[in-house]
Amino acid sequence: MKASNTKSVSYFFIALFFIFFSFINNSFSENSEAESQQNKKEEFNAGKMIIEHIVDNHEWHIAEYDGKTYSIPLPIILYDKGEISCFMSSQFHHGEKAYNGYKLEMEGKHKGKIVKVDANGVVDEAADLPLDFSITKNVLSLFISVFLLCWIFLSMARRYKKRENMAPKGLQSMVEPLILFIRDDIAKSSIGEKRYARYMPFLLTVFFFIFLNNLMGLIPFFPGGANLTGNIAVTMVMALFTFVITTFSGNKHYWKEIYNAPGVPWWLKIPIPLMPLVEVIGVITKPFVLMVRLFANITAGHIIALGFISLIFIFGAISTGAGYGFSIVSVFFYIFMGLLELLVAFIQAYVFTLLSALYFGMASAEHHETAH
């Protein structure tokens, strides 16, 4: 069977291609009609295509043209019972072939994961999955964003040193308001003038990391396009950082609030420690909510944007004319969603940073004013 995940990515590009040319060139319509008929035959599954777009992948798909798939192969790093194996994902031939006793599962329970196969190429159901430390699409995207962030801010730091006590210039004047915003409106107001400086490196890093990756996720081709901040592993790690920092900066007041909340009737604490239980759950819920909010918002944005594009093909499957007709509406909505996502990209970065700052502030506050 042909690799459908690689194909579905191409639908997206074909769609963009179609839309572009149907506006400017009528003579192109014959050709594109033929292609859309081809699409119809292959039974377009919008749900599958969307999910394949927003989850991780072992190769970075660029385009599909004339039945050939063009993608960037990514390194696969597997750890299985003390044994490490590294090779390029191109060895799998988009899931068609097994390599070195491993296979990229394309269907079923372990879809998209690497599974072990025996000598005959049959999937070993009994064996555990190998630990997959591969440089996947999201990991590569992560590295690109880390590189970009380092590049931007290290050069900016140099610029600050060079232009000491001078007005900001260029990129500085774009980023400086954000830095000041995080410092004054997030850190200072939620943590307090005295202790905010300690948390600034984390808050700034988290804000710019989320913001940059949200924006990169909106770019539909190569350096962007990965759904990094819409991946639960990424948001989980960031939420865990917030949790660990909150826990370690918790002072006596903070812990006292948890184990012996003031202003609560005693019978809620003794004999059944109801309130402490609620407080402990609250401690865990806070980072959990951070994780889910970012993940859900970004993923939902991607799903909606992809949904509008899918609509073209769904209508195209009904009739070619409907597909063309709806493409105009779809593109309009896609642009609208794109603009909305730009806003969401900022808001989610802001919310994550603000809530982290609030948690740090609560944990380190000397006099708990926020109680009751």
């Binding site: 989850v55 997959d132 430390f133 996947t136 380092c150 040193k161 490196p201 989980m236």
Partner: protein, 164 residues
């Protein structure tokens, strides 16, 4: 479902990358940037304060300048007034002195005129006396030639003299 199932690989790389990012950016980017921003802010604050102070000082200076000018003007006026007064006094004095002098000159002139006049009169008197005497002599010489006449005259004189 894969969507909500975090993969170990991504967790591993994300933890590593994010830790790296926080440490590197924290050490080499955020620290100097925050420091510079803080420095610049305090510089701006300082500059604003200084400007305010300078403005205050300028105001003060202007005020004292005006005061000084006013004082100078007053002093000048006073000096002018004094000078005028002195001048007037001097003129007055001079006039007084002059008139006094004139008076004195006139007086002395009058005196000397009087004196001269008296002298002239005296001289005239003397002259007249001498002349009279001479005339008298001549007359007497003529008269005395005759004795009776002599006696007559002696008698006349004698009668005029009062013996008391």
């Amino acid at each position: 479902m894969e969507l909500v199932n975090p993969g170990i690989g991504l967790i591993f790389w994300m933890t590593l990358s994010f830790l790296f990012l926080v440490l590197i950016l924290g050490r080499y980017a955020w620290k100097p940037i925050m420091k510079m921003l803080h420095e610049r802010e305090s510089k701006i604050d300082e500059a604003l304060n200084q400007a305010e102070k300078a403005r205050e000082e300028m105001k003060h200076l202007k005020f004292s300048n005006e005061e000084l000018l006013k004082e100078a003007k007053e002093e000048r006026d006073a000096m002018l007034r004094d000078a005028r007064m002195v001048r007037e006094k001097l003129i007055e004095e001079a006039r007084l002195k002059a008139s006094e002098e004139a008076n004195r000159i006139v007086e002395s002139a009058k005196e000397s005129i009087h004196y001269e006049k008296m002298q002239a009169l005296t001289e005239l008197k003397n002259q007249i006396a001498v002349l009279s005497i001479e005339i008298a002599e001549k007359l007497i010489q003529e008269q005395l030639v005759k004795d009776d006449k002599q006696d007559q005259l002696i008698e006349k004189f004698l009668s005029n003299i009062n013996f008391n």
